[in-house]
């Protein structure tokens, strides 16, 4: 299959279907409406089901219900809507249920703006809901990468019996790019061990899925989830290390910001500046290793570039860098987009010691 031109939200929707998604529930919110619209047409074609929920809260709980009977289920929303889903995402994790959540983020806090922003990093990586659970958070920077990550997202979710988050911003959701779509995944033919419902009528012990536990059971769950998050750090980190080998200046950026930064870095390299970039693809687990292997005798400064103000990833960077090099930050926020000139100017200020 050749490459086809697709819009971000639609490419993610199609990749989810190809990856096995057979149930979607969501509530309209800009800038991600193309995703449910696409699903409303596409899912019935593959024997799946689409529900426009009465709210974000209802939608995430429909996904929870679909997941209990072993269906690959997803929802999507944008920042304030994701906040509304956070309780349900916590219940998914608490009940050990897989699901895919997509946040096409916009500016905040509050109603904020419908324009793109990267203001949900802290929410996504630290506390996507109450109770201290974590999720794998993928942050693609191109539509092809979004397709590839979405396609495999259910495999992670089912491996871990835990929800997975894909975080893009409204700009990536709205642009069109050429993408190559993978083939339709074969759905598992065997019932999962925990799956509710008994279509074959076999004699078996009744099953229960819930996020309420006796104290000892909940503590065990907390430990297990904690160990799982540590294992992600060892096995599942995804990162692009761009021109880092001899870098004296290291940009750290993800998603749309990394795209803009890459342009600036490429231009500066042509002028002989030794600059590179760490681009986390998994925001959680954070690519700590990329920072640990740097030669701090050589690195003069880090520049954290995000489409939000103040920068939110900075604390994670600082935990790895410690005081071995200064960390500068540059961002635009509130729905104002990063542009090439602004990013280049911000980096040049650091190079010239004026930041």
């Amino acid at each position: 299959m050749g490459k086809i031109l697709m819009k971000g939200c639609e490419a993610i929707a199609e990749a989810a279907v190809l990856g096995g998604c057979r149930f979607y529930a969501g509530y309209p919110i800009t800038p991600q409406n193309e995703l449910p619209e696409y699903m409303s047409v596409r899912l019935p074609e593959v024997g799946g089901d689409f529900v426009q929920g009465e709210s974000e809260v209802a939608s995430i709980n429909m996904v929870y219900g679909a997941a209990t009977v072993g269906t690959r289920a997803m929802t999507s929303s944008s920042s304030p809507g994701i906040a509304l889903k956070s309780e349900g995402i916590s219940y998914l994790s608490g009940a050990n249920l897989p699901a895919l959540i997509v946040n096409v983020s916009r500016g905040g806090p509050g109603l904020g703006t419908i324009q793109p922003a990267q203001s949900d990093y802290l929410q996504a990586t630290k506390a996507m809901g109450h109770g201290g659970f974590r999720m794998i958070v993928f942050a693609p920077y191109s539509l092809q990468e979004a397709v590839d990550l979405t396609y495999n997202a259910f495999d992670y979710a089912e491996r871990d019996r835990n929800p997975v988050l894909i975080l893009i911003d409204g700009a990536l959701g709205s642009i069109k790019e050429l993408v190559e779509l993978p083939p339709m995944k074969e759905l598992p033919t065997e019932q999962a061990k925990w799956q509710l419902g008994n279509p074959t009528g076999e004699k078996r012990v009744a099953r229960m899925l819930t996020s309420i536990y006796p104290e000892a059971g909940l503590e065990t769950l907390n430990r297990t989830k904690g160990e799982m998050a540590v294992a992600w750090g060892e096995n599942d980190v995804m990162v692009e290390e761009f021109l880092l080998d001899d870098a004296e200046y290291v940009v750290v950026a993800y998603g749309i910001a990394a795209r803009v930064a890459k342009e600036a870095i490429t231009g500066l390299r042509e002028k002989g500046v030794k600059i590179g970039m760490i681009r986390p693809i998994t925001l959680f687990p954070f690519p700590k290793g990329s920072f640990r292997k740097l030669d701090y005798g050589k690195v003069k400064a880090f520049i954290d570039i995000e489409m939000t103000v103040p920068a939110q990833m900075r604390d994670d960077i600082a935990l790895e860098v410690l005081d071995r090099a200064p960390i500068y930050e540059y961002g635009r926020s509130g729905g104002v987009l990063l542009d090439d000139d602004g990013v280049l100017e911000a980096i040049e200020k650091v190079l010239e010691g004026e930041a």
């Binding site: 529900v51 929920g53 209802a58 429909m62 929870y64 009977v69 269906t71 509710l196 229960m208 996020s211």
Partner: protein, 246 residues
Amino acid sequence: MEQLYKRPKCIQPMQSGYCPGCLHSLATRITAEVVEELEQQNNCILVLPVGCSTMGLLYWKIDMVGSAHGRAPAVATGVKRCSKNSLVFTYQGDGDLAAIGLAEILSAANRGENYTVLFANNSIYGMTGGQMAPTTLEGQKSTTTQKGRDPLTTGYPMRMCELIATLDAPKYVARFSLHDPANVRKAKAGIKKAFETQLAGGGFTFVELMINCPTNWGLTPLDSLTYMVENTIPVFPLGVYKDVEV
């Protein structure tokens, strides 16, 4: 000698933890009897919400999922749409269904989701210790209406059967009471009709069961039944509000 009365097999062989005289136990029992009479014990999924009804997780021996407060109809929507041959039902209290879960119950009913909602109405929040519910009677005392519910500031008892019966999609909407044996038999028949309608692919069915809360009403079990007859049932008239042939 023929055994006429025994514990349904889909209920755990243990004592109920519900308060003495609480009709939640009876509601659970007659529902279990219907499940077995229809031979659905290996083919049903019960969605339990938050409240005293959550304790069903301890008592049932069927597939179950615990959901967030008020969200059982949304969860059941996902369950039933992805497991169309299962008998799916929720068992929700009045705080759960008529307050925090109002959007979910009305929207699920309006979509005509093909599952059954069993609604246990005791006019109070039981699990949290007796606060006012949307269904609390005018003048009825609760821990948040200590001088009695004042409609001027807290509104009037909300009647869910009547609300849901205004919608086009629901197929069977009825209110029963569990305060005496004759009414228990009617309630059981109503639950059975709702389940049969669902199994026939008919659509949304809603059965309200009037129950008591001796503990939080501050009454003995027997007095709580008299209170139901004299006060609760006149406000929540029993009967079938909608019955569409499927």
